[in-house]
């Protein structure tokens, strides 16, 4: 019995020199982060929501009612997209990752922004299936604002429950739309070019991004909801 075989690298292993290159290491880190947050699956879901929006607009899935009712399906799909983005902030590693992950805030920031952009792209493509109430400008405003609510709720309740923010916001919005309120904090109720609504949505998105970047989602390490 010898120990000769122990030192040999397994077939297919990355040579040390290549792995040590900063660019490759960065890419590997980013990829591991994406996988740990189930971002590939999230992208699939966002694409599915884009397809759902396309189908809803193309085949004119309507529900009875006035303007508020006409917006229900697109806004619900936007809510779903925001919910998916918020849930990707859930991290399974807790303290070890916080203690050693020097690049963690940047990864969180990049992932959240990139996913929001991807969601906007998917939904904008879906909007090509017909006439989207409010157009793509309203889509951008509503999506970013709702994503902000999701990121904020992830920071408070935990990444796994980040979806509750957009859902609660949308339920409140639905009532407000029916009641005819016009506060800019309920941005889906305002016209697409309304500056106040855009500012409110942008503020909420910025607050959500800042909270998730600096604090991360409330997960293991700080007491969170049962996993």
């Amino acid at each position: 019995m010898t120990a000769a075989g122990v030192q040999s690298s397994p077939p297919g292993a990355v040579p040390a020199r290549l792995a040590d290159r900063p660019a490759v290491a960065s890419l590997r880190l980013a990829w591991l982060y994406l996988v740990s947050r189930r971002i590939p699956a999230a992208l699939g879901l966002l694409a599915g929501l884009g397809a759902l929006l396309w189908a809803a607009l193309h085949w004119r899935w309507n529900i009875s009612g006035g303007l508020a009712a006409q917006q229900l399906i697109p806004l619900t799909i936007e809510t779903g997209s925001a919910a998916v983005i918020a849930v990707t902030t859930h991290g399974p590693f807790g303290d070890p990752e916080r203690a050693t992950g020097r690049w963690l805030p940047w990864l969180r920031l990049a992932a959240a922004v990139a996913l929001t952009a991807a969601a906007f792209g998917a939904l904008a493509a879906g909007a090509a299936g017909g006439v989207l109430p409010g157009g793509t400008l309203a889509l951008l405003r509503n999506l970013t604002g709702m994503t902000g609510t999701g990121l904020l709720s992830a920071a408070v309740l935990g990444g796994a429950f980040g979806w509750t923010g957009p859902m609660a916001y949308w339920l409140a919005t639905e009532s407000v739309l029916a009641a005819g309120w016009t506060t800019p904090w309920i941005w889906p109720a305002r016209p697409p070019h309304d500056r106040g609504a855009a500012i409110c949505a942008a503020l909420v998105f910025a607050a959500g991004i800042a909270a998730v970047t600096l604090l991360g989602a409330r997960d293991a390490g700080r007491r969170s909801a049962p996993d």
Partner: protein, 523 residues
């Protein structure tokens, strides 16, 4: 000596049933402590306050009206549903996400039983929170002195709906264990509820009546005040929701790792029973029909539910005529008496003049609201009684700006309309002219009558009568000022001395009511 004496003492083994109960109770206690549902309750509480409670506060102080949004249209259930589904899916996906499904499959308890314990914990939290939140809201309403009776059947339907959605969400999580199971389940539940809910608004019969958010024909202002809330539809809805819950929980026991063969067979039976219950309930909802007491389902109907709620009317005097209302409407008695006083004074002593004013129950309609576009104020009986269905009025005096003024115009208008015998139409031109003249003398000048006839919710004859009163002066921006032959005759009649007007009416009222008089025959 027998061997029996040497035999060791045999202790009676503990009863298997008791051990199972104790184990199940311990398991449930652990799951209750580990459930994620309490974490979401603050979010639901905030939404419940904003959406379910706050949006109903402007309604008149009647249980049926104040709870129309949150119970009749199921808004409270809607505030719970997506969150309960999502968190239940999170709990249901626990073993799969952690990769411990195989581990727990080999444990002492069947996997199905363990899953049922986890679901029960989530459901207990959710239903408990629902009952507590609704209980607090109802306590606040009770302190506000709401009239009528609380809609307990609808509370029960909401609890059944929360249970069903928790079961459905748990099943989604168990079969698709992923971090995305919760948002996708919540999103799907919300989309399903909101789309069926919105589309069900327009359907006054058939399967949409099974939806806990459909108020058509079953939740109207007479409910809980003149007639009890009919339990027919709520029972069918609970059966439907219970069936969904049972079917979803039965599905959990079907996979091979859920337990032994007998257990899986039992799960299959449970699933089929759930599907059968939901299907039967849906079929029962299709047989629902509108009756004077609300929406009934013949197979579930109890005739005892049709008995009107007894009451002792509260009365006041107006021009010597008793005006009596249901005690639930006591707060409006002074306003009603004040509005009717000049009308009753004008017609006092004339044939067919009301000897009494009585509030009567409105009629159920197949739609969401009572028949507010056909408010039937009538005069009938011997001695004649002016019958006023106050609950059908579009607006009762409230804190809403303009509501009192609108009511003060609408009540005399409808009463005088009934007195001249115009019935459900605009009446003959002679009736229109006499009506306008009488209204002029009860405090509604001709110009004000034009405004009053534009009140939203007046019967369809209002617009026809309005055209008669402003004939020739209509413009693109509105009805214009009073003019035309009806208005001229009304002015002429109104200008008569009170005694002459009274004497003419005493002589010609029967002919006027029968529609025999023409405009030219007016003095």
């Amino acid at each position: 000596m027998t061997a029996a004496t040497d035999a060791p003492v045999r202790h009676r083994p503990p009863r298997a049933g008791g051990a199972v109960t104790l184990t199940a109770a311990r398991l449930l206690r652990i799951e209750l402590r580990r459930s994620a549902m309490p974490w979401i309750l603050p979010v639901i509480a905030a939404l419940f306050w904003f959406d379910s409670y706050r949006f109903g506060t402007g309604s008149p102080p009647y249980w049926v009206l104040r709870t129309f949004w949150n119970m009749g249209q199921g808004r409270t259930f809607l505030d719970f549903a997506p969150f309960v589904v999502g968190v239940a899916a999170w709990m249901g996906s626990r073993d799969g996400r952690r990769g411990t499904a195989d581990l727990v499959a080999g444990a002492v308890r069947p996997r199905w039983a363990v899953q049922l314990a986890a679901w029960a914990a989530a459901a207990i939290w959710a239903v408990g929170a629902y009952l507590v939140f609704v209980g607090v809201m109802f306590a606040v309403y009770a302190r506000q002195g709401l009239q009528g009776s609380p809609p307990w059947w609808w509370v029960a339907v909401g609890a059944a709906a929360v249970t069903a959605f928790s079961a459905a969400g748990f099943a989604v999580g168990a079969f698709f264990p992923s971090r995305f199971a919760a948002p996708v389940a919540a999103f799907g539940a919300f989309l399903a509820v909101i789309v069926s809910d919105q589309n069900g608004f327009g359907d006054t019969s058939g399967w949409p009546l099974i939806l806990p958010t459909n108020a058509n024909g079953n939740y109207q202002p007479v409910s809980g005040i003149f007639y009890p809330y009919l339990p027919d539809l709520p029972i069918a809805r609970m059966m439907f929701l219970g069936g969904i819950a049972v079917a979803a929980l039965g599905l959990l026991g079907l996979p091979a790792r859920a337990g032994g063969a007998w257990l899986r067979r039992a799960a299959a039976v449970v699933t089929l029973a759930g599907v059968a219950a939901a299907g039967t309930a849906s079929g029962l909802a299709r047989t629902a029909r509108l009756t004077p007491h609300g929406m009934t389902i013949p197979a579930l109907h109890d005739a005892a539910s049709d008995r009107p709620i007894g009451y002792t009317p509260v009365c006041a005097q107006a021009a010597g005529v008793p005006v009596c209302l249901n005690p639930a409407y006591r707060r409006y008695l002074p306003e009603v008496a004040a509005d009717l006083r000049p009308v009753l004074a004008q017609v006092a002593g004339l044939p067919g003049a009301p000897a009494r004013v009585a509030q009567v129950a409105g009629r159920y309609t197949s739609g969401m609201f009572e028949n507010q576009t056909d408010v039937a104020v009538t005069i009938s009986g011997t001695p004649p009684v002016l019958r006023v269905p106050l609950d059908e009025f579009n607006t009762l005096p409230s804190a809403t700006p303009g509501s009192a003024a609108q009511f003060d115009q609408e009540l005399p208008l409808l009463s005088v309309h009934a007195f001249v015998g115009a019935g459900n139409g605009a009446g003959t031109t002679a009736q229109q002219a006499v009506q306008a003249a009488l209204l002029q003398h009860v405090g509604l000048p001709f110009a004000t009558q034009v405004q009053a006839l534009a009140i939203f919710g007046l019967p369809p004859w209002g617009s026809e009568y309005l055209q008669g009163l402003v004939s020739g002066s209509e413009s693109a921006t509105g009805p214009g000022s009073p003019g035309g032959p009806v208005y001229a005759a009304a002015r002429r009649f109104a200008a008569l001395p009170a005694a002459a007007r009274h004497a003419w009416l005493a002589t010609h009222l029967a002919a006027l009511r029968s529609g025999e008089l023409t405009l030219g025959q007016l003095p």
